[in-house]
Symmetry: C2
Subunit: 336 residues, 2 copies
Amino acid sequence: MDIAKPYLLFLGDVHDQLAAKTAMGVVDWRPEWCVGQMRLLGCKADTGLPDLTIAEAVAKGARTMVVGVANAGGVLPDHWVSEIVAALEAGLDVATGLHKRLGSFPAIAEAAAKHGRKLHDVRFSDIDFTTGKGTKRSGLRLLTVGTDCSVGKKYTALAIDREMHRQGLSSDFRATGQTGVLISGRGLALDAVVADFISGAAEWISPENDPKHWDIVEGQGSLFHPSFAGVTLGLLHGAQPDAFVVCHEPTRATMRGVKHPLPTIQQVIDRTIIEGQLTNPKIACIGIAINTENLSDEVARTYLKETGEAHGLPCVDPIRTGVEPIVAELIRRFGR
Amino acid sequence: MDIAKPYLLFLGDVHDQLAAKTAMGVVDWRPEWCVGQMRLLGCKADTGLPDLTIAEAVAKGARTMVVGVANAGGVLPDHWVSEIVAALEAGLDVATGLHKRLGSFPAIAEAAAKHGRKLHDVRFSDIDFTTGKGTKRSGLRLLTVGTDCSVGKKYTALAIDREMHRQGLSSDFRATGQTGVLISGRGLALDAVVADFISGAAEWISPENDPKHWDIVEGQGSLFHPSFAGVTLGLLHGAQPDAFVVCHEPTRATMRGVKHPLPTIQQVIDRTIIEGQLTNPKIACIGIAINTENLSDEVARTYLKETGEAHGLPCVDPIRTGVEPIVAELIRRFGR
């Protein structure tokens, strides 16, 4: 999947900012890929980028319209379909992370064929995966894991990859979710793979590499989440990480979408080591990343300090403090 | 999925008995559903049932031709397609567990449409699953787990279900693989579900039931298998078993398809409890089922006795000794 850049971010007429999470992720991490946003009447989300029409975006060099929103029910409303068709007619490709293929809408399929444009459904893959082999691959790997879904695993991985590049280290961010794929322009939405091939697909995402090269693999779900732990375990086995970072959101009362309490950070460390040793006996936790956005600055800094001391590990908020201490720990343990 | 009975078992021209595993499973557990087998020139497999032509099978009342073989590469050879078309023309439905849908072969799709016959692709499901909820459902559940793939989890579950029926207990076998679906006429091939929905599909397979009713759920893979542990964990969380039985094959040197050693029975007991407690804190191991087919009778009986004593649990071979001690243990712990 090679998505042409730059992007026009389509927000439709979604009712809140959270629905534009994907678009915001792209803007946060790849602002240089975004020429602007396109919003319909009544849209309550805003990426802060200039509002453009399709014609204006094309004039600014846009190559792909990214439908960077999730609407309720995951369906594509008719008045979005007509805007997608207009984008195709104007010469743009279109990419989405929706649960339904763009090509399953006859008007979109026809317009893409007529104008020779590409449709990217980042939640779908036409690759024939094999089942996981479990044999060690060369190269080094870091996986972000979590106490829950949506606690910052993608942001932490992107921040570590960026910091490693800044320090001249060799690394690649490896996307395992739809937003990550749009941010990196490659990768795979692992939760959309057929169950038999979870760990095989995770192996495919992070192939053999130079002995000193790091793949920074975006984690999914949580080993303690009753809905998604199977995906989390398959990813852990396929990624066979040398190092992992635990991500946590300290104000959450129950796990996302269910009534289960969150595990402790220590429980996640212990369980990840127990399970991860199957494909990498040397797996080790090298840091903790906390999403402190719901805490005041003072409370956040105290929490980070105390949590780090309690576990004897660097503890950061990728947004508030940056991830330099985690990269320093990685260098300390594995060399440059 | 409601597959019309009885079946004509199609074996094609496969080169060995192992390729007819699915057909053998159906014959072993549902002989009353099978009118005969159909083999092509050169077929090396044999279920022991009478060889019939399609016309003879129809005359004997067959309603569905079951393609009960896996051929190399999972593709359907042209000369099988023509036999499937002939079966449809003769008024039979057709069921398979192959990786490709029957309807994706134009000749088969046309014949089914023309003659109004049903095509059953038991590895595919058109159900819209939800993600797993992890909340406790009423009814009791037993799951078979394993030290590896193909160690007797399906046979053990079927044997326990049969023994419970013999004793007048209320139970249902719940299929999670293609052969199990053909044997029970319902269920789901869990490894073919999209990864996001593994535990949700496992919840669907074993719905709420009477407080004294047992679902005997067919296990998949192993928590220690690097290719399939994600499926195993999602099934464990979705099945939320009250009781589990560990299945083991004592002569195997490495796990199926990979180079990893097998875990011990005790490791599987401990890990299953650790992970299973997430959705059922009362989960307990109630027995061990050994596939002793590669041992002499004397060695097998000594092995069963010593293994049972070492773990303080009933230890049986479902084929050689039957599962009565496991059902007795289940009644002892949970009542009738």
